[in-house]
Subunit: 312 residues, 2 copies
């Protein structure tokens, strides 16, 4: 069994490579739910949806989220009732997911159960686990106050100065069923090229996850989402610099240094390998820019190789 820790778009693209190499039924994906938020009373789990829509081949690739070719008639009409949330785009087909999820959660089902139903509806083989069944809400402390991550990122477009990151609810949350066992029993644990602060950081903030990674027998290999000093996508640079971290693959390696076995960095960052190895973490250099399907598979093969695994 291979475990992948996942945020949203970067992780989904990485997984498109992994499923080309690893038999998908041998894959467990543990997904960040710190970005979850209610919109119009509907529970949206952005990263779970991005992972599932992407693996199902229905994602809108131009955005990396949402459903390809979706219409937006419901939200257009919703905005006429209440325009306060029209900064978050919800397509009509996408809304079915949120309506269904909210309905089941209100009936008492857990987010794990809802996510498993969604996996089945999209006929996916990998096991997909939310990091926790309890609500965790990533917030960004800014001069304008404490902002939900979606408000910081989508509504205010990452323009506020980052003073701190707070995972509201994390300390009272438990890992979702299967998360700890999957980590401990995995042959390898792959950390996606996701935002180390808010996507992977929120997973690490769930009590028990950090310890499980320490105790894991499989190799732990991370892919840097920072290439040439900037993130491929998203605000990782602003968050890292706000927290006084170096915005580089070295800074990412430091986030994971407690448990990381290998850091995979891009060829552009080959000169940082020595600095990472000074942290006691071997660095593997390869092309991490996932331009196409072949490049995604190639990256996955390299990462698995770095974890000591070979798939035919």
């Amino acid at each position: 069994m291979i475990v992948v820790l996942a945020g949203g778009v970067g992780a989904a693209r990485f997984l498109q490579g992994v499923v080309q190499i690893v038999p998908p039924q041998q894959l467990t994906v543990i997904v960040n739910t710190g970005d979850d938020r209610d919109f119009y009373g509907l529970h949206v789990s952005p990263d779970i949806d991005i992972i599932i829509y992407t693996l199902a081949g229905v994602v809108d690739e131009s955005h990396g989220w949402g459903i390809r070719g979706d219409t937006h008639n419901t939200q257009q009409e919703l905005s006429r009732y209440d325009s306060s949330e029209d900064w978050f785009m919800l397509g009509d087909r996408d809304l079915a997911t949120h309506i269904h999820r909210t309905h089941l959660l209100r009936q008492g089902k857990t987010l794990s159960e809802v996510t498993e139903g969604m996996r089945q509806r999209f006929n996916l083989a990998p096991r997909i686990l939310p990091m926790s069944d309890q609500p965790v809400a990533t917030h960004i402390q800014t001069p304008a106050g404490l902002l939900h991550f979606q408000e910081y990122m989508v509504k205010r477009r990452c323009t506020d100065e980052v003073q701190d990151v707070v995972f509201v609810g994390a300390s009272e949350a438990s890992p979702a069923p299967g998360v700890i066992d999957a980590i401990k029993q995995a042959e390898a644990i792959l950390i996606s090229p996701s935002n180390p602060i808010v996507s992977i950081g929120s997973i690490l903030a769930i009590p028990g996850v950090h310890d499980a990674l320490h105790e894991a027998s499989g190799m732990i290999v991370a892919v840097s989402p920072i290439v040439g000093g900037a993130p491929i996508k998203g605000p990782a640079d602003r968050l890292m610099s706000g927290l006084k971290m170096e915005v580089s693959a070295v800074g990412v390696a430091r986030c994971y240094r407690d448990f990381l076995d290998v850091m995979v960095i891009d060829e552009q960052d080959a000169h940082l390998a020595g600095e990472i190895e000074d942290l006691g973490i071997p660095a593997a250099v390869t092309n991490t820019i996932m331009r196409d399907s072949a490049a995604k598979a190639e990256l996955a093969r390299h990462v698995l190789q770095a974890a000591g695994l070979q798939f035919s």
Copy 2:
């Protein structure tokens, strides 16, 4: 002030005439909510929506409900998660109403408050009141068991034998704020050509409404929804015959005999006038078939005249 008691499609068409005659800000519509039901966890109030969409000019006239030109992408996708409720059609734009209403109700707003917001969003002048802010669910007792009215009508297409009609929750419900005062103070109370059993009957089942009609100082005038022995639309005939009532304007008059001042019947039923008058209720004969906008206005004018009111 004129009060109209309303069900769904028949009432909405009647109201299209009334608003041509009565200044709409002098109109209060009290709407049946016994047909309300949750679909996919969303609170749907079919009759309120029909009334508002129709008065706003956005209704799909071919059905009498829903929004003209609406798409159905969300429900198509919802059915792939859960096909158990795909017998009830919910358009994408229409869903915005249900999502918004559910969100506000869960926040603690009353159905009256939600309905008032909906009225404002659609820029309507008439006051629109749900019959009650508490849940009332009309059920039909059949050999197959007790069925929610929507299941009886929409899902099972009125094919079950009707043994009884039960307004679950009605005896514990209160009239919505304004309902009793509006009835007592109205210059006239018009009972739409709606189903006397489930549409008007549910309003009458709310404690206090029947008494208020008794005490009302304004004339109470009803329009028969049964013409030539059959309803213009809907299952009123099956419900009336199931309850051993005569399926005719006379049967309708008997439903309202406790408080009715004038019964308006169609020209086709002119021969029934004597039998209605034998109940102590004067009958006014006119064309009640609302073929077009002019016919709707003409019917409204006749009904108001029967109530002793003249509008220029």
